[in-house]
């Protein structure tokens, strides 16, 4: 079977070789590599399209091995890989504009608000909202920091995942 991957590489010498090495070693066949150094993501990384062939087990092992290196797999067969992030905000989110909060989050690179739950308290200052965000793979840590800073600017207590 064939698998089309999009990998995200740092623009430094040797990265492409590091990414391709395990594929051959594990017995998968590299069908095509499209590598354009001048096309960069907003994060300054280089996306590389790779098609590989092999039996299902081998391809699984390849994915697993690549994941263990610094190389990010951002797409598998046209499907963008996502991470789920749960965060809770405590504060007067209704008065502080719920819509703006969602817009700010949606406006962050590779982010979509997938679910929002609001629980009002007797004191509006203590209202709680749970937000579930889907983001591109590998962005979790940076995103949690962004949410925390945004929350601070609005006076929300941000409770992120560990």
């Amino acid at each position: 079977m064939r698998l089309n991957l999009v990998l995200e590489l740092l623009d430094v010498p040797g990265q492409l070789l590091d990414a391709l090495n395990p594929i051959g070693k594990l017995g998968a066949n590299i069908v095509a590599v499209i590598h354009q150094r001048d096309v960069k993501t907003e994060r300054g990384t280089v996306p590389v399209h790779i098609s590989i062939e092999g039996d299902e087990e081998t391809l699984k092992r390849v994915l697993h091995t690549i994941e263990e290196t610094d190389v990010q797999i951002i797409e598998v067969d046209g499907v963008v890989r996502k991470e789920k992030i749960t965060t809770i905000l405590i504060g007067n989110i209704v008065d502080q504009d719920l819509k703006e909060t969602v817009n700010v989050l949606n406006g962050m690179d590779g982010v979509r608000v997938a679910d929002l739950n609001l629980k009002m308290s007797d004191n509006p200052e203590e209202s709680s909202s749970r937000i579930i965000i889907e983001s591109d793979y590998g962005r979790k840590k940076a995103l949690m920091q962004n949410i925390k800073e945004f929350g601070k600017s609005k006076g929300f207590l941000v409770i992120n995942e560990v």
Partner: protein, 337 residues
């Protein structure tokens, strides 16, 4: 070994109880005969170069509240510093109350002992979180041993664990629940659905939270421990002002309920890593190592060879903290002999 105990509150009394409980074992197993030659508290001191009677020390403190009332050997209005000047001792156990403003008088006591080449064991977070490098340098300059396992996580082994048991590993971070009072309150709120203030009051009635709970519930106590871990385990050079701190007083039952529905608990988590020093409420997975109930403490050490290692233990209590102090005393004794 001649011991001087400065500070005779819950921890100081715990240490002397443990020494008396374990006397025979210490002699049999380590050939370690501990003589408590001086004990001080606010009232003064009890000093006997031939060794004080531990039963009498505890009885005196419990009856009158003043160690200076110790029969025959009690002295009133004698400061810790004066005692350190006058008494011949081998090891100082510094267990005065934690002061996070300037770390005094504990800092002065420790420096004085170190200058005289005396070994020091402490549970006192104040000087450690404000003047860590000063103390380490002072100890190194006279080849004094300085150990402080009891300052973080009470009985939970973490500092010696990271230094000795995980020796050879590169440690990149320590994350943990480092304040039992906060963990008790958050656990109760999660289990009972009760509001914060009511739960805090209940904890105060049970003696788990102090009358003035600020240092615990606002995360300051946990932040001190993060500073100690960052300095001692990660070899950083930081102090309390470098830690981002948020406590638990804004946590609501509603937020806990929302977290639960997604399989999370809210815990006050301290993090020490090279790019982040903070104490913050965080979401932890139910069933994960951080999902501990009650007053327990937990810490996860991230290493290059052993990957993640987690320890859990009682974070407070007189005998539990004394256990950590005793293990420091024994390890100094072993190193000296």
């Amino acid at each position: 070994m001649k011991l001087c105990i400065i500070g005779f509150g819950a921890v100081g009394m715990g240490v002397s109880r443990v020494i008396s409980m374990k006397r025979e074992m210490l002699i049999d197993k380590y050939d370690l005969d501990i003589n408590v030659v001086a004990v001080t508290d606010r009232s003064g001191a009890a000093i006997n170069p031939d060794g004080l009677d531990i039963g009498m020390l505890i009885e005196t403190k419990e009856n009158s509240g003043k160690i200076s009332d110790y029969p025959e050997y009690g002295v009133s209005d004698l400061s810790g510093v004066q005692v350190l000047e006058e008494v011949d001792y081998d090891l100082l156990v510094e267990v005065t109350p934690t002061n996070i403003e300037d770390g005094e008088p504990a800092r002065t006591h420790m420096l004085k002992a170190m200058k005289a080449s005396k070994d020091v064991v402490t549970s006192n977070k104040g000087p450690l979180s404000l003047r860590f490098s000063e103390l380490i340098d002072a100890a190194n300059s006279t080849n004094a041993y300085f150990k402080y396992e009891a300052s973080v996580g009470g009985a939970m082994p973490i500092i010696n664990f990271a230094h000795d048991t995980l020796a050879g590993n590169n440690i990149s971070s320590v994350l943990g629940i480092l304040n039992g009072t906060c963990n008790y309150i958050l656990s109760r709120m999660a289990n009972e659905g009760s509001p914060y203030l009511q739960t805090l009051n209940e904890a105060q009635e049970l003696g788990i939270a102090e009358t003035d709970p600020t240092q615990d519930v606002e995360g300051i106590d946990a932040a001190c421990k993060i500073v100690i871990l960052a300095n001692s385990v990660l070899n950083m050079d930081v102090s309390l002002k470098d830690v981002q701190v948020e406590g638990i007083s804004r946590i609501t039952p509603e937020s806990i309920e929302l977290a639960k529905k997604e399989g999370f608990l809210i815990k006050l988590i301290g993090e020490a890593s090279y790019d982040n020093l903070e104490v913050y409420p965080r979401l932890v997975r139910e069933g994960s190592p951080f999902a501990v109930d009650g007053t327990l403490n937990v810490a996860t050490v991230k290493t290059d060879l052993a990957d993640e290692v987690t320890v859990v233990g009682k974070g407070a209590g007189s005998i539990e903290t004394a256990s950590a102090i005793l293990s420091d005393i024994i390890s100094i004794w072993k190193a000296r002999s």
